[in-house]
Each structure stands twice: as structure tokens, then as C-alpha cells.
Amino acid sequence: MEGVLKMLKNGRKILGMNARNIDYVRPLNLKKSKKLADDKIYSKKVLQKAGLPVPDLIAKIRTIEELEKFDWSSLPNSFALKPNRGFGGEGIVVVYGKKKSRDEWIKANGDILTVDDLKNHIRNIIDGTYSLSNTPDVAFFEQRLTLLKLFKPYSFKGIPDIRVIVFNKVPVMAMLRLPTQESGGKANLQQGAIGVGIDLATGTTTTAVLGKGRYIEYVPGSRLLLSGIKIPYWQSILKFSVQAQEVSGLGFLGADIAIDKERGPVFLELNARPGLSIQIANLGGLKERLERVRGIKIKTVERGIRVGMDLFGGEIEEELEEISGKKVIGSIEKIKLIGKEGQEIEVEAKIDTGAMSTSIDVELARELGFGDLTEFFDKIELPTGFVREEAQKIMKDLKQKHQHPDLIDIDIIFSSNGVSIRPKVKIEFIMDQLRIAANVNITQRADLKFQTIIGKRNLSRFLVDVNK
């Protein structure tokens, strides 16, 4: 019951289809602007004129006569063929290479496309098969974008794109869309692509959803974490989105931007009726955000970006913890060490990702009930002046000769200030509410600032934020 009430209450923060159409699309996206958004060639021209980077137009085919007269050898080796008024990524053909001797092209999946295949496809486009409400359409060729190295492992045969919702010159929500095998290389969630929410302040990805609503942490079939991807050119992407709103006159805009390997961010298309799934990917409500931005006077593009970043960013840390299941900690943390008899000692520890193991000061070890062991270890005559190659053998000898119930191992540590041989004990500690069982080595740290350092081996459940 409580859950139902919460859902009903939160329902006011979500933008549904009714509210999108009645409160945003209808009053804010006038017919003229909608027409511009639905016409890809025209919007390409308008955006380019305003100084926004767009994929280059190679050629367009408007009629069957033009199709018959078309010079196929004029096409470059790779291109994208699109219906001018297509939607949802339908009817798009992308070729990656051309056969040397003939006018034949190769698709991403290795299929060969002949001139006849292309002609047939273009005939279908002109006939309106892929256009809104099946009206006659224009086919056009444009420059094929190349995949950014960063995105390569995340996307299947296609270019990911970034959707930014802009309202009142403020970017309010964004998501990265990754094409998958299921979506056939298309960056469309309805067809099974992955949508990843983006923190507006930092351009870092947060939660991810596969297709219409399955939350995922990793790229399917891999161990690639979808959260925490830092999107390059983030400022420019937001800037282009807001500029596109100014140019297009779309009061409620879905801007689609891709990143080309050579050219950087490139504006793909304007969307006058942006989908609502972006809310699922971001685990947040658009309506709530739109209402916060409504009525604010924004004079410049920069100001709009600033407002968007300030209002809709910065929650990333908690989200990161939620997604990765890892705690975000700073470079210095208060921890509680648990001694042999269960005594607890709170200390400040340095988080040292440069060290393998955790180590504590001799005095601290004594307080934790390992006094007996430290005395025992002090009495051992430790070899000095050996070289790295001998270390293994020396350790083995030491372990055999000297045994103590608390001593679980002996470590030889090579560091910038020489070699040291240290005893190792089992100690548990609590950091950020997590209880960690660690093999800790004991050494002289009395004259150092921190009595305890936590090494890599015991940090697998944490992410370190150096600014914290």
C-alpha cells in the first residue's frame, strides 16, 4: 500500500505522453519548427548555417528520374543512405567499404550491396515506405561517421548518439544511446538499444537500461561497466544542443548528437517529439525538471548550460554507489580497527592505491593485542643486504624457522626507502560501514603522518574519489 502511494505521488514528477503532448509539444513546438525537425536535409542546412557541425551531405535523390540518371561512381567508399523524413532510424543503410573493381558496397554485417539493391531501396524511400505517414520522400546520401575509440567496446555495429532534452534554453536531461546486436546497430531504445543516463554536470554516465526497461550494469555478455563513462566534449555537446534550440525554434527539443572520431561532436538531428524513455535511463522524472526550469529568464547559451549543470548534476556519487555496489571514499578515511580481543580503535587511514597491502604501525599493533607477536618478531635476526632475487628464498627460510600463532605470513617490501621485512597478521577493520578482513603488515610508522595505510588488496569494494 505504501509503495502504491509513493508511486502515485512520484507520478507527478514523471512526464507522460499526455503531458508531453498537451503541455510541451503542442504549445512550444509550432508547425513551422516541427516541419524543420521532420525534414533532415532542411534542418542540416539550417544548423550548418548557424555554425553547428553536421554530417556532410553527399547527394540527394528526389524522383525516380533522378534515380535513373544518378552517377553511382560519384559515391565515396563509405556513406549513409537515409530517408529524409524517416523516423526511428528506419530505412537507413550504412556502407563501410567499396569493392575495387565494381560499383558494389559492403555493409557492416558483410553483406554486399549492388547498385540494383540501392536502387530498390531508394525507390522504396521515394515511395514513402519509411516516411512519416507514408508520404513520398527524398533519399539522401551523407558522410558516414566513424566510431570513437572510447565507444568501440560499448557499441555493436553502429554509432552511439547522445540525446539531450532542451527546454527554455536549459539542457534538462541527457542519455547516451548504444546500439546493440538486438537493435541491429541502431541507437533506438524501442528497438533494443541501451540507454544510459548522464549526469548533466560532469557528463558521466549513471544508470543503464536495455531496450524498454531492463536495468543493466554491464554491456551484455561482458564485464564492461556502463556507469562512469566520461563522455568527451561534454560542454560542446550541451552547447550545440542549446544552440540548436535557438536556431530551430523548438521550445521542447530532443537534440541528437554523435561523436565522430575526426570531427568531434556532430549534430545528427532535431526531434520535435522526444521519447520518454530517457526518464527510465536516468531514473528520474522529466516533468519535475521541466517545471523547475519553466519561467526562468535565460539570456545566453552559456547561462543555460550553467543552470542545467547546476540543477541537474552532482548526484552522481550516491548513484555510483548504488549502481556499482561500491562505496565511494576519499583519500583519507576514518576507520575502525578491530583487535585480537575485539577491542576497537578508531584511526585516520590513508587510502594508498600505490601500495599492495595494508599496513599499520607497531605501536598500534600492540594496542590491538599483537604485542606478543611484535616482541617475538623483534628477536628474530633479520638478514640484510640481499638482492631482490634472493627474497623468495629468504622468506621461505624465515617462515620455516619462526612460527607464532598470530603470524600468518612474512612480507618483504621493496620501497623507495629500501627493503623491509615485516610480519603479517589478520585484522578486521570497518570502513564506511563495510567490514573488511585484511592481512595487515606491521612496521614502524611512528614518525609518519598516518599510522595506517590501506592498500589495493583491501580496496576492491571501494572507489576512490581524490577530491573527497
Partner: protein, 217 residues
């Protein structure tokens, strides 16, 4: 018939079939129901015309289940034809013409089968509702091309559900008697639609769609 509105009584006396008059008054109620399903519940179906006309087709078929059989048969044949014709790579209208022709023949076979299995109810289905159902194929195949198989099937199912609900509503005696007595009450659907047309709340289906967001906000 004791409670008949004078205007209706006059029309009937003038030779208008009562059934026709009732159907005309029923139409606003059915289409309002469809609008309600779209705006509040979130069931899309194939627009407003298709579920409305299918509802009326159901009303003219002797038994609802025969109507459903015809509906399902039309969709299945339409779907099979799409695969059968895929290889030929025909343009839209000629392809649709072939599909509709084959659906028509399939109907003939279906009715003949009905006859031979003594399902006289099925065999005696009139031509008009069958034609209506056949035109449903264009909607279906068009959606298949635009939005894919899954969406088309879901929309077809939603159309069927709304039409069945519409059928029960329109054949409910209480409602029929009410319309005969107070036909002008039907005008009340207009303010209802004004409200539906301005209602910007979350649809029932959207509570399901965004359930994870709603729970985790």
C-alpha cells in the same frame, strides 16, 4: 418499450429501423470509450476508427466468438502474406492488393469450413462485417512495416480487447433501454471528451512503464 423518447418514437413511426437509430446514438459512447482507453488507460489500438468499426462488425455478427475467429484469421493471414511476399520486393499498394485478395479467399474458405462443420452461425456471417475486417489488414500490415511485428500484434490484440469491451457495452440491455428513453444524454460524451482532451496526467500503462523510476525516485 414503455419508456421511449418521443423523438425516437416519431422516427420509428416514420419507418427508421430502431436498431439503426440506437447504433447512431451508441457511436459517441463507443468512441468515447476508445478515447478513454487511450488517454487514461494507455491502450493504443489502431487509432479510433478501427476499434469502433470492428465493434460494430461484432454487433452485426450472430455470435461474438465468430467475430473473434474472423478477426484472428484475418490478422494471421495478413501476417503470413507479408512473409510470403517479402522476396518479391513489391511496392506498397500492389503488395497490399495481393494481400487483401488472399485474405478475401481465406474468408471464403473459413466460411465454407464453418458451413461444413455445421457452424451455421459462422457460415451465415454477412458480407459487410467481413469486408470491414478485411480492411483491418491494411492497418495491420502498415503497422508491421512501420513499427515491426511485435508492435503490430500488440496493437491488434488491443484493438480486439477494446472491440470486445465495446461490444459488451453496446449490447448491454440496460444501456440500450437508457438510450431509448434518454437519447440526448449521449451528448454528455462531449464534455467528457473535452476533459479527456485536456487531461495531462500519467496513463495507467505509464505507471507500469515507469514503475522502476517511480519506485526509485
Amino acid at each position: 418499450m414503455e419508456n421511449i423518447n418521443p423523438v425516437l418514437a416519431y422516427l420509428v413511426a416514420r419507418g427508421l429501423p430502431l436498431d439503426t437509430v440506437i447504433m447512431l446514438f451508441m457511436l459517441p459512447i463507443i468512441v468515447t470509450l476508445i478515447a478513454f482507453f487511450r488517454q487514461v488507460v494507455g491502450i493504443k489500438a489502431f487509432g479510433i476508427y478501427t476499434p469502433a468499426i470492428v465493434t460494430f462488425a461484432f454487433l452485426t455478427i450472430p455470435k461474438l466468438r465468430y467475430g473473434v475467429v474472423v478477426f484472428v484469421a484475418v490478422i494471421v493471414v495478413g501476417m503470413l502474406m507479408r512473409y510470403a511476399l517479402k522476396k518479391l520486393r513489391l511496392l506498397y499498394l500492389p503488395r497490399m492488393a495481393i494481400t487483401l485478395s488472399v485474405v478475401a479467399f481465406s474468408m471464403l474458405i473459413l466460411l465454407a469450413l464453418g458451413g461444413s462443420f455445421q457452424r451455421t452461425g459462422l457460415a451465415s456471417v454477412k458480407i459487410f462485417p467481413i469486408l470491414i475486417m478485411i480492411t483491418l489488414v491494411e492497418k495491420f500490415v502498415g503497422t508491421q512495416i512501420e513499427k515491426g511485428n511485435r508492435t503490430a500484434l500488440i496493437l491488434a490484440l488491443e484493438t480486439l480487447v477494446i472491440s470486445i469491451i465495446g461490444f459488451y457495452l453496446a449490447s448491454w440491455n440496460g444501456l440500450i433501454e437508457f438510450i431509448i428513453a434518454y437519447p440526448w444524454a449521449v451528448l454528455f460524451t462531449i464534455p467528457i471528451n473535452v476533459f479527456l482532451g485536456k487531461w495531462d496526467g500519467l496513463r495507467l500503462s505509464e505507471y507500469v512503464r515507469f514503475r522502476n523510476v517511480l519506485k526509485n525516485m
